[in-house]
Symmetry: C2
Subunit: 315 residues, 2 copies
Amino acid sequence: MKNKIAVGIDIGGTNAELGWVNKDGKVLHRQIFKTADFTEIEQMVETIGNAINAQIKNLDHCEILGLGIGAPNGNFYKGTIEFAPNLHWKGVLPLAEMFAKKTGLTTKLTNDANAAAYAEHIYGAAKEMNNFLVVTLGTGLGSGIVVNGNVLYGATGFAGEMGHTKTMDNGRQCGCGRLGCLETYVSATGLARTTVELLAQSRQISVLRDKEKITSEDVFLAASSGDELALKAIKYTTTIFGKHLADYVALFSPEAIFLTGGLANAHSLLIPHTEEVMNQSVLKVFTNTVKIYPSALLKENAGLIGAAAMLFDID
Amino acid sequence: MKNKIAVGIDIGGTNAELGWVNKDGKVLHRQIFKTADFTEIEQMVETIGNAINAQIKNLDHCEILGLGIGAPNGNFYKGTIEFAPNLHWKGVLPLAEMFAKKTGLTTKLTNDANAAAYAEHIYGAAKEMNNFLVVTLGTGLGSGIVVNGNVLYGATGFAGEMGHTKTMDNGRQCGCGRLGCLETYVSATGLARTTVELLAQSRQISVLRDKEKITSEDVFLAASSGDELALKAIKYTTTIFGKHLADYVALFSPEAIFLTGGLANAHSLLIPHTEEVMNQSVLKVFTNTVKIYPSALLKENAGLIGAAAMLFDID
């Protein structure tokens, strides 16, 4: 019997990563492209498509199940990327169809956070779970929501936009054009914005005062060495996050919540207080019913292997 | 072939209604009991159980599929009512098991808002829909959420508690003991509270100033005759509701949202502005993707026929 392999592509604002993934979620071979190098989307399909086609010729001892793509603002039903604020190609892009035509492979496309949910379900810590949330904390906040064993797509294919639920009226301006979205507070960017605000509001001594441009990594580093202002910024973030998760618990009653994305690497600074606030805030019947964990795939590219996983999956 | 019939019970704070429902959702026979008459839950099971058993004897030309119960704080998985603030029996009550034992019927139990969702799905306006929300606006705010054709129960069986997601920090006190739950603003009680607040805050002339105890019906009646303060109270309510629904649209991407319960009878005063605010507030990709409708079963007891529908359903 031939070994089964799926091709995965993870498209982000900075990199587009191509990988050949086996049924155990192992990436056998990978190539990284700079997203910005592709001025037009057609160039990307041409270049990455050629790379795929070249490899296929070397793999006739394998059965290639197809191609899975994870991308911001990806629509599973339509195979399109639609109006992605973090990508430089604009409008509605029929990416799945373009890649299918170029490679001849069965092609599925989903949003990057949903891809992370497939990865956690099939290769990660949610193997035995039918109801769970995956929250990707990077530049923004994405979410993949699994209900009764299936990723939640809703009527449009765009369901699960937790990052764009509202934290407060007249809150911070979001990339989506609205005010007060959760991701303007709870994300790498959100944490940096909070820190800058706290620095501006107080005269508190902090190692972060010397920084020209503050990143979430700077804040975590400062917090780890006891910087009070950095700790305050993290506490503000986890308080908002915990309160919001309390609402999602009341709506979805998940078995667990998994954190992934760059910010999740600092899970030991994030999870305990988030969980505490979540349990304090939630409707009593849900108290202590849900644990928050770092993704079991934090060191992998979950978007990539999750995209490929769609081809192994039944969904 | 024998006619198929299911028994439904809808348990509320005031009445417990028993009905014999056919596969078209028609209630062939019904009996209404006063919930408060049953000091102990055992008395209710005894009395209603006896009524069921007496009828079964008259129905041997029918096939009785089983018994469905809709009740506040009902848990579908466990068949229990748990800590229902609006019922006078306290603790965890294994009601499905008690009725099954008394009647010998296959017995299913769910929360009353979920029962309304089954009813809408099987007999109402959501027959062709796989993703929709049913919001029951009565004393509180309940919700039945249907995802991929199935009612959302989550890991605990309690999912879908929209009424207890948070509207604002340090908001109104809720029956659940927390502050700022949606149902303290958007419900019959919530509308009355808003009206009382507006009367206290202003000196605006209103027919409602003469009332000793204001109900949501009083507010709608006043609004219908152009009372500015009543209209303001309704606008405040629909603004909060529309903003919240925008979040649920981003999470669930439903095909439609159905309103039921007492307050929904005034749908013409509620829906247009709620829908307007929802579409203004929602993430752009969802704008105008969702309509809000009154339930097609507003004149029925959707809780009763939905409870019975669980026996006809595949879920």
